[in-house]
Amino acid sequence: MKSDWTAETFAVLRKEAITELRGRYGLYATLLFSVMAVTAIGLASASTEPSPALAAGMFWVALLFAAVTGLARTFLLEEEQGTGDLLRLWAKPGPVFWGKLIYNFVLILVVSVILVPLFVLFVGVSVANWGLLVVALLAGCAALSSGISVCGALAARARGRSVLTGVLSIPVLFSVVLLGVGAVSVAFGALVAGGWPSVAGLAGISLVFLAAGPYLFAGVWKQ
């Protein structure tokens, strides 16, 4: 039973990866979007040296918007191209949710890995605590991808689905952004407390989202 579940999840994940690599536009656009965001931030703050706290804030805004535009696509595209029913006929909700979620997690992790050197180069931040940064990004990406996966799934079959996904996920993810800013500003060298506690908060939110997500997804999937 367990191995079935893993194989089915992996099948969904594989399908996402293949269609993405062959279609290309989604991944490429998301990566490009984050580069654009850094450029815009760099331009806007060109005349000043941003403080670690401000740089962390800008970093999270770039990551949040890249996530909202890029991650919900896995759910929205199924309904846009009319293939959602295929998955509803073939698969159980659990593997579909987890397969897409893992794909999203990897995607946003790649974006954040690209964002960090861009911030170092163009915004002029220096990383004071690499260990904290890496753990904060792992926990933050888990929270972002799980939160957006749920919101994308809820909005997927609504009218105006892409705008709606932003409307749903941005306020829900404010908490994640606040904690993420707390952790990343310390990692960027801000002299405040609360770096590791913020990471713990991010991990806590991720766990809550991950625990509830599959059930909520199963509740709306076949309607």
Binding site: T19, R88, P95
Partner: protein, 193 residues
């Protein structure tokens, strides 16, 4: 096999249909007819578990919808960046079933097109692949929404052979306005809209 009790579906304030009742046993076939917009496709979607009814219920002896229900409809789109063979393999992995890719592609007359992306398929080829996917697990309940639409003669005989085979081991629910396809069943439900 499957029993529908007092089914009704409403979109906004408008009822598409109400109080639809039927019972479908193994080895029998039921055809749904009616003008466009009368809710044929919606009724089939409800039977397939893809849509929730606004009232009434569907009771069935189906334990695992992934292998017990085969469904094909015109608005069931395929992944344009996957090949026909990959569709069959993907469906099999998710269903926990045997892919039978070569056999099904041959049956659907898609052997040569099996490794082409479905984005390059013609409408008729896509319809054949949908049929192949629907019968992949030899489902106990096969639901076909206008299977012969946009099919050539060869495709139509494929539909006919699938229908005969299905009636030997399971139940068939079919929506159509085609006089020839209507004769696949002994009973009909007419939705007036």
């Amino acid at each position: 096999m499957i029993e529908a009790k007092g089914l009704g579906k409403r979109f906004g304030p408008r009822w598409v249909f109400r109080r639809v009742e039927f019972r479908l046993a193994c080895g029998s076939a039921l055809v749904v007819t009616g003008p466009n917009g009368s809710g044929k496709s919606t009724l089939l979607k409800i039977a397939a578990g893809l849509e929730a009814p606004s009232e009434g219920s569907v009771e069935s002896a189906i334990t695992d919808y992934r292998s017990d229900i085969g469904y094909s409809a015109l608005d069931l789109n395929l992944y344009p960046t996957l090949t026909g063979r990959e569709h069959l393999q993907l469906a099999a992995r998710m269903r926990g079933a045997d892919a039978r890719a070569d056999e099904l592609l041959l049956r659907a007359g898609l052997t040569d097109a099996g490794d082409k992306l479905t984005g390059a398929y013609s409408t008729g080829m896509r319809a054949r692949l949908r049929l192949a996917l629907a019968i992949q697990t030899s489902p106990r309940l096969l639901i076909l929404d206008e299977p012969g639409a946009s099919m050539d003669e060869e495709g139509k005989s494929l539909v006919e052979s699938i229908v005969q085979e299905q009636r030997a081991h399971g139940a068939l629910l079919l929506a159509t306005n085609d006089a020839a396809e209507r004769r696949f069943a002994e009973y009909e439900i007419r939705l007036d809209g």
